[in-house]
């Protein structure tokens, strides 16, 4: 580990930052989902970094579980997008306001 782990953590934070901006600013549901994947990856990078710094397998295990749950999340979210798009052709998540009070 020739590069200090702080650099990895900083990179993870920056990627998380970009992902948060994407989730909040974009209204296209697919790009929002991709930004969520960016968030998962940023957190995974931090987990793996600390696992390497502390020579502990737990970070790897947890990152693996995050990858698995992210796959399940992506599948379900994309299914919801497909179903919603099938019933009304939206391109903006704000148009889906059936539950708005």
């Amino acid at each position: 580990m020739s590069v200090a782990p702080e650099n990895y953590v900083a990179l993870s934070a920056v990627l998380f930052f970009i992902g948060v901006v994407g989730v909040i600013a974009r209204r296209n549901p697919l790009i929002m989902l991709m930004s969520i994947e960016l968030l998962f990856n940023a957190s995974n990078l931090a987990l793996v970094t600390y696992a390497r710094a502390w020579v502990d397998n737990v970070g790897h295990i947890f990152a693996f579980l995050v990858i698995t749950v992210a796959a399940a999340e992506a599948a379900i979210a994309l299914a919801i997008v497909v179903v919603t798009f099938r019933s009304r052709h939206f391109v903006d998540v704000d148009e889906v306001s059936a539950l708005k009070g």
Partner: protein, 192 residues
């Protein structure tokens, strides 16, 4: 050393491209670059198995899913890609929120100093069977100490499969009010 900086620049650039791209397909390409760079980054952290899983699961499965959904949604009359994106109006609160998040992460990270444990055993070369992060090392931990989380993950995946079939299937669950699937779509015969 050089690899880290090149990869981090690549990852940041591709992440910005994912967020700012106009069309979802372009975002997918940026995301692919990001995932592959992250897999290489895992290799620099001696997480070999995770690097392979990153390629297989993310680049191989999730991105293909995204591509298929984009292709399906774009096949209608209205192209899915060109949507009004209210980016300019909401961009400022988004950046403010994200900066606050970044500040929180940074402060927390700075208050937890990372003490790097350097042991000779972990400096084993790539391919060493019992090296840190290798498949043997990872699998032994996953199937002994962390067997219960692994099993729970399998259950979550099964729930996801059933849920996707129920949600996006042809009929939909009971009470999920939705108009009947269109039957008047002109289908080209595959074999003429």
């Amino acid at each position: 050393m050089i690899a880290f900086w090149v990869l981090s620049l690549l990852m940041i650039a591709s992440a910005v491209f994912v967020v700012t791209a106009r069309q979802p397909v372009h975002s997918v390409v940026g995301l692919l670059v990001n995932f592959i760079a992250l897999a290489a980054m895992y290799l620099t952290l001696q997480a070999e198995f995770l690097a392979v899983m990153q390629i297989v699961v993310y680049s191989g499965a999730i991105l293909i899913l995204f591509v298929f959904v984009i292709a399906l949604l774009s096949s209608g009359t209205k192209p899915f890609a060109v949507g009004p994106d209210r980016a300019p109006r909401i961009l400022i609160p988004a950046v403010v929120t994200a900066v606050l998040t970044l500040a929180g992460i940074t402060v927390t990270a700075l208050h937890t100093p990372v003490t790097v444990i350097r042991t000779t055993a972990t400096n084993g070369t790539t391919g060493d069977a019992n090296a840190f992060g290798s498949v043997a090392n990872f699998g032994a931990a996953l199937f002994t100490t962390y067997l219960l989380p692994f099993e729970i993950t399998a259950f979550i995946l099964m729930v996801a499969v059933i849920g996707v079939v129920l949600i996006a299937g042809d009929e939909g669950p009971a009470g999920f009010s939705r108009r009947k699937p269109k039957r008047n779509i002109q289908r080209e015969p595959i074999l003429k």
